[in-house]
Symmetry: C2
Subunit: 338 residues, 2 copies
Amino acid sequence: MSAKTLTENEVLQKIERAFRRQGIGAAKALKLSIGDDAALLRQHAKHEEILTCDWSLEGTHFLRDQHPADSVGWKCLARAVSDIAAMGGQPTCFLLSLALPASHTGRWFEEFLGGLVRASRTLRCPLAGGDTTKRNEILINIMVAGSVPAGRAVLRSGAKPGDLIFVSGVLGEAEYELHKLRASKAQIAPKSIELRRHLYPEPRLALGQWLAEKQIANAMMDLSDGLSSDLPRLCAASGVGARIMAAKIPIHGNTRALVKRRNERLQLALHGGDDYELLFTISPAKAKRLASKFRGLPLTCIGEITGSRNILLIDETGRETRLAAAGWDPFRGASQKR
Amino acid sequence: MSAKTLTENEVLQKIERAFRRQGIGAAKALKLSIGDDAALLRQHAKHEEILTCDWSLEGTHFLRDQHPADSVGWKCLARAVSDIAAMGGQPTCFLLSLALPASHTGRWFEEFLGGLVRASRTLRCPLAGGDTTKRNEILINIMVAGSVPAGRAVLRSGAKPGDLIFVSGVLGEAEYELHKLRASKAQIAPKSIELRRHLYPEPRLALGQWLAEKQIANAMMDLSDGLSSDLPRLCAASGVGARIMAAKIPIHGNTRALVKRRNERLQLALHGGDDYELLFTISPAKAKRLASKFRGLPLTCIGEITGSRNILLIDETGRETRLAAAGWDPFRGASQKR
């Protein structure tokens, strides 16, 4: 940590230097990035544009003394890009709004930029601009612009009764890792493999684009707050209900091995946040032709869309209960998870 | 203030209700606004897109107990739209990232939305989406997307030696009003006329668009941090210097009447922030044909661009001094104004 206080111009210069190698050429669309009043870009004429933004706030989304700065940098961008994946698009560029304590303009800031630059390169989403200021807490807001062929974006509102409900990957692992991180109370090493899903989520861009461009999915969203919170949002937007089968919800082998009680594993998968997997619905005819994996990523049918407005969970004995949202809701105060 | 804690969905519903009357039709470009993973828009094929974002943070950009919530709502959008004006563009839509204490989801929030909706309507910049969360402090980030005919955006980097330097309107009034507000220590009434420039700035959209579309200005930016901070940024981006004349800097009649000492008035105009006027440079040939007003807004030549890298101020006796940046720099800590 540096005791020296940087000026706003010096903070901007550090950001510029960290991203210099990206080159404006990294995104042909980007005509002008940091250094002017605003960024300038030229969108593909036959595409629609996607705009999304996400808070990443100290204390709310990460812990200053526990989360590695490298992971904070990676995850703040990955989380916002996940919304682009959820529409079936590809990212064009992003804006970084950053408020930092003077004490964090040194090493913390460099490690943060390291993770952010790596995410930017991996997700092909160059920096286009932003706003910086000083603050006693670390506040981040990321805006991502993306692009999707006109008419191909997959909305939350397209689910139809009879559609089958799918999720990509496995659920609950990021939440399980967060519990481990909280329990450890120590500073976590950057690039920690055992907390990889929590620290370095990977937006499902390729899957989202494939489902959109081939017009396979009727409705789609990303799972950021937990299935029990997000599925009702998709259903509400579509004016439908859902029946999901507890036994079908995909849980990672690690979680199976480490979380002994079956019910606990299920709770993690139902209510755990930060998975950034895709939740999508497909007509039964198209679902028949869907492979069980997309480029190695499991695609699992967990239930079906119904014409009622209820969200029902069928347990392993066949008993039907209403699924209560118990995922992440900042305004409800403390999470209501067990 | 409401003691009841709203859920995130209820906060979103309040925002949706406040903006419902705007209709998606308010911006033909906007295909999908709040309620999905992201916003979706179709940009004009022959236009380039402008993206910008701005923090508005309690304690840094406004005072929770003194600034009327209505003004906070107006100003957070107006400030960001001013960057669109500075490129010569028109706004398309905006994203609202909002973090609120539970105690401020009642009356404060409604007044905030009142000012924000009015700014949105006045500036023709509909809400397209955003992100909300709970926080002990009021944090706002606004992202605005805009549009400008391809190749017509006016950058900071286009100033040439010999160009004349112009500013729109008058400078220093918003800063003077801020001093008054700070001194009063009372809660300020919404729509207070005497603090109008500080509470309800008006981005110079029509002027910016005219200067861009007619290809009149070589370089342009908006004055948000004060002339002494912003002019050096324009000069640095263009690789030039400047000579400005103290006697020519436009100061409002109110300020003249109320601030007795001439030097104090000049300091306000040189270093005061939050003017949101446009600073632009024009070739001498085009400057000859420029009227002294644009739709009633004064346009004043304050100096010229030079080939050196210095920013010089010529005082009323003809003495030349280097102009030191003393405007707003959050990372420099307390403002260095007198």
